[in-house]
Amino acid sequence: MDNREAYSILSLHRPEEPALDEGRLQEALRKVEADPELAQWWKAERELDAIIAAKLTSTQLPADLKSRLLSPAPMRTRVVRSSWSRAVLAAAASIVVLGVIFSSWRGPFQTAVSLADYREEMVSFIKVPPNLELQSSDLARLKTFLEKADAPAQFALPKNLQAYEPVGCRVLRFRRHDVSLVCFKIGGDRLAHLFVADAKSVPTKGSASAPVFAAENDWMTATWTENGQSYLLAVRGDRAAAERFLGDS
């Protein structure tokens, strides 16, 4: 056994765990006894491992994570796709595979995404109260945060939504594109969620004056496009629940 092999075995050795190859471990340990340099390396290796482990386990936890996990909603809400949508996704996956196969002579393959895909994925983020990256009731501050994160920040709120106080924002990803999410307090524990993305990157339909409405489980969504930005508003309830926040921006 050379030193290189001994390093390899010793760097993964955990005294509390049986070695995969006890014979080779014993040989490496004998080598440590005979070679002070190797022994010194192993001591330093174990010390550094202990420091890294200790620091990793001291990573600070978000203050409210535990209480959010223990609140009734997250444990009761089931964020899984229906068997129908799983079948659709399986079919879509097959199309992707075929697309990749044919891409050699058809140019770079672009995965087709529908408004339904976008809607479903965005709503899946808010089925449980979303984890926000910045909590603030100051819209200007939220926009600055989003701008710094290179996410869509120059957006206009629908007229009726402007009356409500934001609670925070975060950046999501949809098919490699950033989507800004801003949440608004609309009474009690209820929130309205506004997703904003570059209109070229997501398949939103409708215009500012004529939003398109669609239900996603118990959520109602309204989508529209305005000045190159794609908007998706999601609130719990029916079409009327969504309409009350709209109006020209």
């Binding site: 995969l20 550094l48 482990a53 936890l61 535990k66 444990m75 926000l132 949809f174």
Partner: protein, 180 residues
Amino acid sequence: MAEGDNEQLVEKFYAPLYRFGLSLSRKEADACDLVQQTFCTWAAKGHQLRDKSKVKTWLFTTLYRDFLAKKRHDARFVETENEADFVEPLHIAPSVVESIDAAIVQKALHLLDERYRAPVTLFYMQQHSYREIAEILAVPIGTVMSRISRGKAELRTALSDTTALEARKIVRIEGGQAHG
């Protein structure tokens, strides 16, 4: 499973799950999502787990699968097998060791190649045997060990780089005109 059992489970595992999620996703909000989703899945499917001694592995496996699913959804993620031989770890200067803190460890982990980050994080969390890590990541135990070996070497390089970068930031703030 009873409500009280769920509470005990959250109490016991939310912190290590969050730390694992953070090292994978790099963002606090995404890590929180992963942990929340893991417990939601547990609430819905946990009763199907017959061997209750496997709860810990089940939770970590679920979180890791959710992360991969989200990642594959977001951008094509190709898992390649390019296992390297053992790489002798870089010697770390005592000054670097002294300045390592939790944030630096997380930043260094984020610099690791995708395929090394998860096994190295699980290795340093010291909660899982090699067999359990293999089970969580759904790769053979030999692959886990070679990835940890290689990942540890990469982590040392990343720690040195990150510590140096942080030191430069401090100099810039304190000195006001240092180059960074």
